[in-house]
């Protein structure tokens, strides 16, 4: 229970030549936790030629940045990264470790936790320090989003991954000072059992759903590829992106990268237009952060109307063409 571990460490993933937004969010909440414990906030960066990102981590709030700069960690390989981060954690001995709930974070965090004989809680939407025990209170959705659970880990480090957009990054401050420490990769060759041999991108063309301020999403009730063409017309008109609940992806009406929800993408656009989507808790996990939800559904009792600000009860086949037509007219004037 009690350990001599101290401080908060945030694993910062790099993408497109910068620290990922979720890593900045991790540093934001990490700063808050470190301050309330009166401890240091560390960032950990892995990659090849990544030393330059240390300054970014400092601007986002880190006191210290540990950099593993090595050609062997140039690209993500699960076994390599787990091994390197396990060693880094043994060296840094933090009390709390934060990662993003990304493709990498969701597998590194639990694997690392088991190796360090501690526990991880994934997909947290809130992190706080218990004022009495000083332990980390980790809030995560359970039962597909129908409920939330607050967990406390009894061993250190307490490892958490955070849900995208659930926590806030600090404004980067270029005048902040911090220390940069290089650490060796020390990869244990015996631990390497799997290898990513090919990476295939399957993204839909146009605006990315996670970046779009307007998203038009269709559900099982859309029924076909043709139906999604109609939704796409509306999305294009509003310069938005096209999304979906899970059944349309499973039915190949739209690529699986369009899936919104607990096991798809978590998005927070200004406007989310849900057409023929019932609003299961698993789906709402991915879009309830939208500022305004608009729903079109033939069932007045559909759960989606509990989240929607505006709605139409009706058959989308009749509602959508008239809606698109009218919007076109309003937007032109």
């Amino acid at each position: 229970m009690m350990s001599d571990n101290t401080g908060v460490a945030v694993y910062c993933e790099i993408k497109d030549d910068k620290i990922m937004p979720i890593a900045a969010e991790g540093l934001g909440v990490g700063r808050k936790l470190a301050d309330s414990l009166g401890q240091e906030l560390a960032a950990v960066i892995l990659g090849s030629g990544v030393g330059t990102y240390a300054q970014q981590a400092i601007e986002y709030g880190a006191d210290k940045v540990y950099v593993v700069d090595d050609a062997q960690v140039k690209e993500y390989q699960p076994d390599v990264y787990v091994s390197v981060l396990e060693n880094a954690a043994k060296k840094i001995k933090p009390q709390i470790v934060i990662m993003g709930q990304t493709d990498a974070g969701r597998e590194i965090a639990p694997r690392m936790a088991y190796r360090l004989e501690t526990a991880a809680i994934l997909d947290c939407v809130d992190l706080d320090i218990d004022s009495d025990t000083k332990r980390l209170l980790q809030t995560k959705p359970v039962y597909g989003g129908n409920a939330q659970a607050v967990f406390v880990n009894e061993t250190d480090p307490q490892i958490a991954t955070i849900r995208t957009k659930a926590m806030e990054a600090l404004e980067p401050d270029a005048s902040r000072k911090g220390e940069v420490v290089n650490i060796p990769a020390e990869i244990d060759a015996a631990a390497l059992k799997t290898k990513i041999v090919q990476r295939v991108a399957e993204e839909v063309a146009g605006i990315k759903i996670e970046d779009a301020s307007i998203v038009v999403s269709g559900g099982r009730g859309i029924g076909s590829v043709e139906g999604f063409k109609q939704l796409e017309e509306l999305a294009t008109l509003m310069k938005g992106a096209l999304g979906a609940s899970r059944p349309p992806c499973d039915n190949n009406w739209i690529p699986e990268t369009a899936q919104v929800g607990l096991t798809g993408k978590i998005i927070a656009p200004d406007v989310y237009i849900a057409v023929a989507i019932s609003g299961s808790s698993q789906h709402m996990s991915g879009c309830s952060g939208a500022k305004t939800i608009v729903a079109i559904n033939k069932d007045k009792e559909a759960n989606i109307f509990r989240y929607a600000r505006y709605g139409v009860v009706g058959d989308w086949k009749k509602v959508l063409p008239a809606f698109t037509e009218k919007l076109k007219e309003l937007m032109a004037s």
Binding site: T102, R106, P110, R111, Y114, T118, A119, I121, D123, V142, Y143, G144, A147, Q148, A149, V150, F151, V152, N153, E154, T155, K193, T194, K195, I196, V197, Q198, R199, V200, A201, E202, E203, C249, D250, E256, T257, L262, T263, V271, G279, S281, Q282, V294, N303, F305, R306, Y307, A308, Y310, G311, V312, V313, G314, K318, V319, A322, F323, K326, L327, L330
Partner: protein, 261 residues
């Protein structure tokens, strides 16, 4: 090709959210009036196993850990085509956390032995933890592949397509390995009448903590501090009209007037 598939019995995640209730005193949840089911991602894992068996032969063993396991529920994977069912059924198995769950399953897998692949769902519909498969791999020191959508085995080498947020990765690994299964693997098949009849004849093997060498003080590292239900107030403004077209026009007007769009 011997495959072990871990499957859980859960409250029905597809029941209407309105039937979901929390018993705050016991920190437990229930789907009011809806019978339990096998966890959906576990079912996808069974489907993945059946396809591997079709391609490579072998046997499929299902492992379920829990209490009050309804035979008609936990026998569904048998009805789909799996060969054996092992139940870890004891109060002691439910006292723990994710760590102790993985520990118990790993011990049971070790006792069973003689496996090439262990499949789990990517996440159970109740815990949404997404950790059990990864943990079993770490405990047993096996290869570990998360979020598979396609699995091929040739000359004792595994080739797995792993879903990610922008597409997929192709991963190679040796056997034995643990793989967690995502829905992109394809819809689970329905049990056939023949399958249901065959499942009736298969007696599940039941293991208690003693049988797998689990001591009473299984390592628990996480405590559930609180369980609560977030509230959503319905304040939806419905667009009126005599026809659906009229409602649509009114909706567009509302969105424009409120500067939503």
């Amino acid at each position: 090709m011997n495959i072990i598939v871990c499957v859980k019995q859960v409250i029905d995640p597809e029941a209407p959210p309105a039937s979901f209730k929390i018993d705050t005193e016991h920190n437990k949840a229930d789907m009011h009036g809806a019978p339990p089911v096998i966890d959906p991602y576990g079912e996808y894992a069974v489907e993945a196993a059946l396809r591997l068996k079709e391609a490579n032969g072998g046997t499929i063993t299902i492992m379920v850990m829990g209490v009050n396991l309804l035979r008609e529920v936990v026998k569904k994977p048998l009805a789909m085509g799996a060969d054996e069912l092992i139940l870890l059924e004891d109060e002691a198995f439910t006292k723990g956390d994710g760590w102790s769950t993985a520990q118990a399953l790993a011990l049971a897998i070790k006792k069973k032995g003689d496996y090439d692949l262990i499949l789990c769902g990517r996440e159970a519909s109740d815990t949404n933890a997404g950790q059990t498969g990864l943990a079993i791999a770490e405990i047993l020191g096996l290869s570990c592949i998360n979020l598979a959508r396609k699995i091929e085995v040739a000359d004792s080498t595994l080739k797995v397509e792993r879903v990610n947020l922008s597409g997929y990765d192709v991963i190679e690994s040796s056997l034995p390995a643990v793989i967690t299964i995502s829905n992109e693997v394809g819809e689970p098949r329905y049990p056939t009448i023949k399958g249901i009849m065959a499942a009736k004849k298969i007696e599940p093997v039941i293991w208690k903590p003693n049988d797998i060498g689990l001591d009473a003080h299984a390592s628990v590292k996480t405590k559930l501090h609180r369980l609560f239900q977030p509230v959503h107030e319905g304040k939806c403004e419905f667009a009126e009209g005599d026809t659906e077209e009229e409602m649509a026009v009114n909706l567009a007007n509302k969105l424009r007037e409120s500067k939503t769009i």
